[in-house]
Subunit: 228 residues, 2 copies
């Protein structure tokens, strides 16, 4: 919820208020920055209603704007909390090193104006998998209690049907603020040849945000899934 | 060029006027309706300039809005005309029969709210290939001299990586007004089981727009290519 912009949370709460005739607060699994997309965001709320989960889903999709869809409504155990109970999350980040921007991709793909060495980026990223202190990739001043997270899966590949599209996916038990975008900004330095493959492991070990690359733009990032 | 809407042609002419310091009229290979997309539209214009084609391309992309890109600028033979000299065009139309609309597809894919029998649609569409009078699929009152066109290629397949997406492509020596959208609107009646496979051939033979199905929405259609 923001004062000056219509957020997904506000749209959901407005639709729920209309359907349930009372004010309902929605808790999402986490915040996504402006420009970041979501295919599988999860939100929880408490409501008394005679509607079945499926009826509620249809009512919500009937009153939400067309750029927000509820894919599923399920009854949760008492005390379920969308942030606290999340076990893992999966994000996708898409880059392009095409010579020219594709207008249909401009809001979903980070266009990098140099050919990227994807094999080098993949080799560099290998060091991130597992349990590490990701302080180097945490936005300055975000101050979480611990910056230790476990990356469970990480893939980086060119799209076989559109070779210029480079698709990065990462799954972890949790993410620090801007962590995916900071990893990507650093990986692109390796892909462009500005940094050697081993540099990323050094950055990780240093636990110093100042040593990592710049933050990749928000619009290439999509929250794919949250598991509970 | 329209009075009440900013068109691609207007944007191009504005950018060209800025670069060339004089009013230039752009002729496109054909009109695309509002909501229709283009990956490979071709436009021609006459201009005296010391800029190379590639310099002109870069200057245009520097002043056009980001949802319009010039992919290539080439010098044409004297007398070249983007409409008259077109030998063939290729269009793509994308439908989805997913249970739920994907928000990222909402401006590019026609969402049909019923499972479609793609094999039946493909069989039905077979009769369209070749040289025929397509009067049944021409928008009423468009009054071209002849409604005879030759369909050179036609494919209809589910996207192997996203099974709910049904991709139709068609190439012809020319298209009547709304021809692709009218063919699709009819094919979907076959795909839904509302009409038998042989019905499309009957509609084609009848040369009567009233017998064909409704016009499919514009936003599923993309002009892929124009050949000269």
């Amino acid at each position: 919820v923001q004062v000056n912009a219509l957020t997904v949370q506000q749209a959901l709460e407005t639709a729920l208020a209309k359907i349930l005739q009372r004010r309902v607060r929605v808790t999402a699994s986490g915040r996504t920055d402006s420009g970041v997309h979501a295919l599988g965001q999860v939100g929880s709320f408490v409501a008394e209603t005679s509607l079945s989960p499926d009826q509620l889903k249809r009512a919500l999709n009937g009153s939400l704007p067309t750029d927000i869809r509820v894919r599923s409504v399920e009854e949760a155990c008492p005390g379920f909390h969308a942030i606290r109970d999340a076990r893992k999350k999966r994000y996708r980040y898409v880059m392009s090193d095409a010579e020219q921007l594709d207008v249909f991709e401009r809001r979903y793909v980070w266009h990098v104006w140099m050919a990227l060495d994807v094999a080098a980026m993949r080799d560099a990223a290998g060091c991130l998998v597992g349990k590490h202190d990701f302080a180097s990739f945490q936005a300055a001043g975000s101050g979480r209690a611990s910056s230790i997270r476990t990356i469970l899966d990480l893939t980086l590949e060119r799209d076989p049907t559109a070779h210029h599209r480079i698709v990065f996916e990462v799954e972890a038990d949790g993410f620090l603020y801007n962590m995916v975008r900071n990893i990507l900004g650093s990986l692109v330095l390796v892909g462009r040849g500005a940094k050697p493959i081993g540099w990323l492991a050094e950055v990780l070990r240093a636990k110093d945000r100042k040593l990592a690359g710049p933050t990749a733009p928000a619009h290439g990032l999509t929250l794919l899934r949250v598991d509970y």
